[in-house]
Symmetry: C2
Subunit: 370 residues, 2 copies
């Protein structure tokens, strides 16, 4: 059968070192499971800026459009903080999301049993936690126009004289398609969706609520749907996260709420994500997979990073891009096994101490468990 084409964009900070472990895992599946991968590599973020003066070249963008799946490490770092907005590392990632039209960002917040004590929350509040946040990823205030920083004419009331503008803009169609993703996913889980917005304050939130409800009533009446204001959502995530199954929300709320949810689990270095778009000609969705964690510049290059989030992102690729659900589950079980056996990277060391294994050491353990 046709090989699976992958574009690997390690990016900045710990991106390259965690991605090196993913490459080993890819090779293992190629060698042992009769899958064939066509892997190419490219630059994104600060790494691309350093080489080409732009956080994403047109060539890399075109390549991303043509492959089955993009695997991304992480972008950004203090080195690039003073760059102009238009060439910041983040713009490379945002361009990929936008031009590939990856509208559904799946962020599972799962608490690994072996790690429940790492959470700042009480064990009984997070043990067994398994929620899925579906974040809209191609619209809203991230991309709406007009935007920018302007001079405010000579408005004497405005000390400083500038104004900064961004626009939250959602169409019905944008809301409906991500709502469908959430309902579809819920059907394969506990069949419950909670939609979050600020419909009490924002008209775009009113539209969000109405369109999600419309999709529900017309197409998914069997799924249990509730609505929650996003501020209350943040509270409820802290108070009793187990009440949720699938959460669907917009780009900006999704950014904040999914990070809070990830931190609840105590497993930030463990959490993958998938960003999916419409099906391509071969039936596979446009797709990008990346860990939820950032580029962690403070520990980059030291072999201390945890590669599991990136490896589990590849597991999501196996499942959502290649229909290899069994292989994905095998990989996920291998990760659970090495954790249960006590393998720990530095980020997973408890107060009781012990000797952490390296990034490569963790990768090797997972290969061995496979």
């Amino acid at each position: 059968s046709d090989p699976y084409s992958l574009l690997i964009l390690p990016g900045d900070g710990i991106g390259p070192e965690v991605m090196a472990e993913v490459v080993k895992v890819i090779d293992w599946f190629g060698a042992n499971r009769g899958m064939s991968f066509d892997v190419s590599h490219g630059l994104v973020g600060g790494a691309s800026y350093d080489a080409h003066g732009t956080p994403l070249t047109d060539e890399t963008m075109a390549r991303a459009q043509s492959v089955d799946a993009v695997l991304l490490g992480a972008v950004g770092g203090p080195k690039y903080d003073s760059l102009d907005f238009a060439v910041k590392p983040e713009r490379g990632l945002l361009r990929l999301r936008k031009e590939m039209d990856l509208y559904a960002n799946l962020r599972p917040a799962q608490c690994f049993d072996a790690l429940a004590d790492f959470s700042s929350l009480k064990r009984e509040v997070v043990a067994g936690l398994d929620i899925l946040i579906v974040r809209e990823l191609t619209s809203g205030i991230y991309f709406g126009e007009p935007r920018g920083i302007h001079s405010d004419g000579n408005n004497p009331g405005n000390e400083g004289g500038r104004v900064g503008i961004n626009t939250q803009r959602y169409t019905s169609g944008e809301i409906r398609r991500v709502a469908r993703s959430a309902f579809e996913l819920a059907r394969r889980r506990s069949n419950r969706v909670c939609s979050m917005e600020k419909a009490n304050v924002m008209e775009s939130g009113v539209l969000w609520r109405e369109e999600v409800q419309w999709v529900h009533d017309a197409e998914y009446p069997d799924v249990e749907l509730s609505h929650m204001y996003a501020d209350n959502g943040a509270m409820q995530l802290v108070r009793r996260p187990q009440q949720f199954d699938v959460i669907v929300t917009d780009n900006l709320f999704g950014d904040i709420l999914s990070d809070a949810a990830a931190m609840l689990t105590g497993s930030l270095g463990m959490l993958p994500s998938a960003s999916l778009g419409a099906p391509m000609a071969n039936g596979r969705p446009k797709a990008l997979y990346e860990p939820v964690h950032g580029s962690a510049p403070d520990i980059a290059g030291q072999g201390r990073a945890n590669p599991i989030a990136c490896i589990l992102s590849f597991a999501m690729a196996l499942r959502y891009s290649f229909g290899q659900g069994d292989a994905a589950a095998d990989l996920e079980r291998a990760v659970e096994r090495v954790l249960a056996e006590g393998a720990r990277t530095a980020d997973l060391m408890g107060p009781e101490g012990g000797t952490p294994i390296s990034t490569a050491g963790m990768g090797d353990r997972i290969l061995a468990a496979l």
Copy 2:
């Protein structure tokens, strides 16, 4: 001396019953501390809508402008969910904030020692927690134009055919004045401010970061200032909230982050807030005080609500509007004393059980402790 003029707006849900306890406290300070209060009452939110067809009448708005301090209970409830956006209960509150120009919303997130075990977080993560979130309250996406829901012409790509728009708009002057509030408050605390935005994604966040830095460098170089992306801020609040002293952020991020922070403490029914504007002719700031909790319609009218958040909001009024810091501290100590003695409303009952006291019972205990 002149009496202190107060406008009491109990609002909806549990608002009236918690405010009844505040009235007792006001009377106590009048009778025992030589203060004189000129108290009037009005309607806001759903209560005003029911009586007048609007969530805030022009008369009540004018009265709010003329008093030293407004005390507000809570607004909203499912009964009003289907109302038009323009007459929703929340619009009454938002109009007060906007027309009184209450740009600095002070939201302390404090963990009361007697209640640390109520938090879903581990005791050691939250015990002694004392952070102050300063939220910009009169601008940003809450108020920016253009806004609304429109038909999207006949855009065939937009299934559903509508578009919802809100505008995040901040001027330099709006950012600078709330930054000054945060720096002033930090000087009276641990002298550290952390500013949160999404400068990596939003130009309004870039302006926010630059203007906060400008105010710091020009006027408050002695205060320690750091910047954090708001998604990371949400994470850090969950991970290690004690790292923060004062947090300053915009209207929308402040809404979400302050609710998450409030929930960390396990003391949601305990947390007050102050919303302050520019000084009036008598030197007092325009001011509105309200509990952080909502209208809790599910328990309204049962005498089960906790009046402490509303009572502590009055303590903030004593401190910030009337310069009665000692009286405020006495009231705060009285609250701590009754908690230490074990007085608990229903929301504060642990798994070990016990008999809760009523809303009025808690008010009486606090009066007795005074």
